[in-house]
């Protein structure tokens, strides 16, 4: 392999490039992006909007890093992949031959065909109105900046991770936010009802008008083609000058139609990230596993993984294959985290929204109802399948080991302090006594 071409400079594509370079000093590496000149952390888009960071802060490596590591960066949109001639064609007319091609084009916000009712744009979809958008990349951030300037009310559709980010962004600018959530509790598709209620309380405390069991029915335009209101399935008309769509993302693979590369929702790959086309691979949000992928703990992973860490792990693994050690993807114990305004969330292992029939659950909540901890375990042998926490920081290495070693829920509860990752002097829960004080005093812990 002499020429490695990577389409997409997100976490998956860049991790691939970095790990290939670490192991192979000679291969030519080109990373193409239509979005930005340099790799940046799209997880930080919200912080740019809120004024916590500048765009420059979101770049994990200084600009000289790429030349120093001889990773060529190209700013272009890839129009076409010619798998027979093993080359790609860009919108600037350039043709790049490759020995290996990695498709790491990420996602694009999901859209549904919500009707836009009334004149003067009867044919337009509601989602096409000015002021209606999702949030995935820098372009979305720019339009959100433009379309929220000076407005007073906004509606966010969807109670997932992007939805709550958009709500926090709008709220930080003093814009009144209504959130429409389809489920009966917040993020019920992923979280049990108690956790959803805890998050719901947290959002309402922060003046978010959270409407559960409510969906978007119509988006109403004004005369200029801009959103002026939405109608909910409850029949309410809510004035809104901005509508944030947080109803998920789909793989960004439109440009591959007709290329001969097998697509379903994403680019179909096997556990080696190989597509049906020779020397074409796909990593990150944009791929879709043909067969089920199983983690080390035996849990089945989703066929499309749309998480920052999984993008990184895909890249780490594919780099091995590209450097001559064909390596199957073997994720470890699942983990993820998020933050709902000021409420941190961490999850490890398998935490079904609705308990599996052969599982039991241990649930603890602080009397203040602003922290909780849940441990799910197999009823038969009491071994832990997963745990998650809201408002409490857990140590990944410890949780990971408990789940891998199938420790019993009793051991985990007794040793819970070992997973304490809360800052010093912050009380860590001791669910067995329902007290929140850590058993060791701070003085003992300092000299522990």
């Amino acid at each position: 392999m002499n020429r490695l071409v990577i389409i997409g400079n997100g976490i998956a594509g860049i991790t691939t490039a970095r790990h290939v370079r670490q192991q192979n000093p000679d291969v030519g590496i080109t990373v193409i992006s239509a979005e930005s000149d340099h790799f940046y952390a799209r997880t930080a888009l919200m912080y740019i909007f809120m004024g916590h960071l500048r765009y420059a802060h979101t770049k994990p490596y200084e600009d000289w890093f790429w030349a120093k590591n001889r990773i060529d960066l190209k700013r272009a949109f890839v129009n076409r992949v010619d798998v027979a001639a093993k080359q790609i064609v860009c919108d600037d007319g350039a043709t790049l031959p490759y020995d290996a091609l990695v498709i790491a084009t990420g996602s694009t916000p999901a859209r549904f065909d919500w009707p836009a009712v009334g004149r003067p744009h009867p044919r337009r979809h509601g989602q096409d109105l000015t002021g209606v958008q999702g949030l995935y990349g820098l372009d979305d951030l720019a339009t959100m900046e433009r379309d929220t300037t000076g407005i007073r009310q906004a509606v966010v559709v969807g109670g997932g991770l992007i939805g709550v980010e958009m709500a926090e962004m709008l709220h930080s600018r003093g814009i009144a936010v209504t959130m429409l959530v389809r489920d009966p509790t917040y993020w019920r598709s992923t979280l049990p009802a108690e956790e959803g209620e805890l998050i719901g309380r947290h959002l309402r405390q922060r003046h978010i008008d959270l409407r559960i069991s409510t969906e978007l029915r119509e988006i109403l335009p004004d005369a200029s083609g801009r959103v002026r209101a939405v109608v909910t399935t409850a029949g309410d008309e809510l004035p809104a000058q901005f509508v944030g769509l947080g109803v998920g993302v789909v793989p960004n693979v439109g440009f591959l139609a007709g290329s001969g590369i097998d697509l379903n929702k994403g680019v179909l790959v096997n556990e080696y990230f190989e597509t049906n086309a020779p020397d074409v691979y796909s990593v990150g949000d944009c791929n879709e596993f043909r067969g089920p992928v199983t983690g080390s703990d035996g849990a089945t992973r989703k066929p499309i993984e749309q998480i920052w860490y999984t993008g990184r792990m895909h890249g780490e693994t594919l780099a091995q294959t590209l450097c001559g050690r064909r390596t199957a993807y073997k994720p470890g114990v699942f983990f993820n985290s998020a933050k709902f305004f000021d409420l941190e969330y961490q999850t490890y292992g398998t935490m079904n929204a609705t308990l599996a029939p052969d599982e039991s659950t241990f649930f603890w909540q602080h009397p203040r109802q602003d922290q909780c901890l849940r441990i799910n375990y197999r009823t038969a042998d009491r071994s832990v399948v997963g745990l998650h926490a809201l408002g409490v920081r857990l140590r990944q290495a410890v949780c990971d080991r408990w789940i891998m070693e199938r420790q019993s829920v009793d051991t985990v509860l007794n040793d819970l302090q070992r997973a304490n990752f809360n800052p010093e002097f912050s009380p860590f829960p001791d669910p067995q006594t329902t007290s929140t004080e850590s058993r060791k005093s701070w003085l003992q812990r300092l000299f522990a």
């Binding site: 912080y47 809120m50 916590h52 200084e62 936010v177 933050k339 990944q396 800052p423």
Partner: protein
């Protein structure tokens, strides 16, 4: 529904603060001055009176509208007089800068000097009241990270308000160190407080110490409110407020009231670079057993406390919990922490600079002690201890730590001195880097590379570079402020003390969560 919680005290608070600040700065031009014979008789030693009368004859009884012309003329007269004394080798007669300040204060006349209480209220107290009005509504906010709009605000993003504040601060330090005679009005304002605390009139250092303490207390209240719900931040803020008020301010004033050596007993060599200078050694020896205790205490702090406490807790035990410079940086400087330079080149400059200052401080002190004990003014007859220590005092003690270190807060961030110049920080850092249980732990593979930790690191550490590769942050410069851990949206970072062999300094290239590759057995 009111999404923005700030209640209506913020703007009045800001206006009152700015009004107080304006009166305070403006007061420098308020007093009139007249050098009368009575003033001379009150302030000049009888032996020098005749000479002073002659030297100041042209300006005597003349009414000056403000300090600018008066201080200039007075200084010129005294300089001429001193030049004569020097020529005739009558060094004991030389009129010192503090004598000059005493004359200046006594020569103040008109409305201002007789109404300093009123002006103290209209300036210092009004600004204090306004600042608290501005800050206290934060109490109505829910706990959480409050960095909204920091990079949109010209006061905190290195914009034009920042440059104005920097200009004011730099001006303050230049006057304080080099032209204190123009601060006479402030000395008059603080005279009553100074008499109450130490029984003598205010010097420029008393004014500076009072302002410094007030700023730490007021901005400390701001920190306590900003980090509600975060016990680590609140405790260490309370700690720096306590050490500044009691150890740096009240205790030394009280000691000086008792005619003991006035020492800030929590500050020590090599930050307190003059600790082993001849006049301070003599002062302590003269003070008897208490003086010797101070000498032993100050020596034990750097010799024993630094290695022991830094081994257990990292350098934070001093830098972000006790130190006065750190106290100012963590309170007054907190709005500017995000302006520190994170580039690799800045780290390279930092390492060369801060360790050079440490070497300079050690050599300078060695030379001073050599000359003290050997009674030789110079080593090998050429390296003059007095010259070397004056160079250190001017360039490091005044320009670097004061004018640059604090003056440039709003432009270069709040830890410029601590990061690039403090010899004690360099020494603590060496211990922390090579023999300490302290580290900032990275929580497995959870980093999302957002960059909040790096952006808000006041020491300019690229925290994310470590976090995203699963490595613990072990850096000599880390002062353990804990802000990276606070602002991390995924709870990835934690300040920990544990067995020093458990610090993860060389992580696997593939971090936890991915079992595809087993690179090490």
């Amino acid at each position: 529904m009111k999404p923005l919680q700030r209640i209506g005290l913020t703007w009045p608070g800001l206006i009152l603060f700015l009004a107080g600040l304006t009166v305070f700065v403006g007061s420098l031009l308020l007093s009139q001055y007249r050098l009368t014979d009575t003033v001379l008789k009150q302030t000049v030693k009888p032996a020098q009176l005749a000479a002073m009368r002659t030297a100041t004859a042209p300006m005597r009884e003349k009414l000056y509208p403000n300090a600018v012309g008066f201080a200039g003329d007075l200084k010129a007269s005294i300089a001429q007089l001193n030049a004569g004394y020097k020529q005739r080798h009558q060094d004991q007669n030389i009129i010192s800068d503090s004598d000059t300040l005493t004359i200046l204060k006594a020569a103040g006349t008109g409305f201002f000097p007789t109404h300093t209480g009123l002006f103290f209220g209209l300036s210092v107290l009004l600004a204090l009241f306004g600042a608290l009005l501005y800050i206290l509504p934060d109490y109505t906010k829910l706990p959480g990270i409050k960095n909204d709009g920091i990079f949109n605000n010209p006061a905190t993003n290195g914009g034009w308000i920042g440059y104005i504040v920097a200009a004011l601060l730099i001006g303050l330090y230049v006057l304080l160190y080099f032209y204190p005679e123009y601060l006479t009005s402030w000395l008059l304002l603080f005279d009553p407080l100074s008499y109450a605390l130490n029984g003598a009139g205010a010097t420029q250092w008393f004014v500076y110490g009072s302002l410094y303490t007030l700023v730490i207390l007021v901005m400390g209240v701001r920190m306590l409110l900003k980090y509600r719900g975060n016990p680590y931040q609140q405790l260490r803020t309370a700690s720096v407020m306590f050490f500044q008020l009691c150890f740096a301010f009240l205790i030394p004033e009280f000691l000086s009231f008792l005619h003991q050596p006035a020492q800030d007993i929590k500050s020590f060599w090599p930050l307190d670079y003059s600790f082993y200078f001849d006049y301070r050694l003599d002062e302590k020896i003269k003070a008897g057993s208490f003086g010797l205790f101070l000498l032993a205490w100050g020596t034990a702090l750097w010799m024993i406390a630094v290695p022991v406490l830094t081994y257990f807790f990292g350098k934070r035990w001093y830098c972000s919990w006790v130190c006065g410079c750190g106290g100012l940086a963590e309170t007054f400087g907190d709005p500017y922490r995000q302006l520190s330079d994170k580039r690799l080149i800045a780290w390279k400059v930092e390492r060369v600079l801060v360790h050079s200052v440490l070497v300079f401080a050690v050599l300078m002190t060695g030379l001073v002690l050599y000359s003290y004990f050997s009674k030789q003014p110079a080593l090998f007859g050429v390296l003059d201890a007095y010259t070397v220590r004056s160079v250190y005092g001017f360039w490091i003690g005044s320009i670097f730590s004061g004018v640059v270190g604090t003056g440039f807060y709003p432009v270069m961030g709040n830890r410029v001195w601590c990061r690039f110049g403090c010899p004690l920080a360099a020494y603590l850092g060496l211990v922390q880097r090579f023999k300490s249980r302290f580290r900032v732990t990275t929580n497995g593979g959870q980093c999302i590379s957002c960059g909040n930790c790096s952006a808000y690191c006041e020491m300019g550490i690229d925290v994310r570079w470590y976090a995203q590769r699963g490595q613990d942050i072990v850096r000599s410069s880390c002062v353990g402020c804990g802000i990276c851990s606070s602002v991390c949206p995924r709870g990835v970072l934690n300040l920990e003390n544990a067995d020093d062999s458990s610090r993860v300094l060389d992580p696997m290239p593939i971090i936890i969560g991915n079992d595809s590759v087993r690179l090490r057995p």
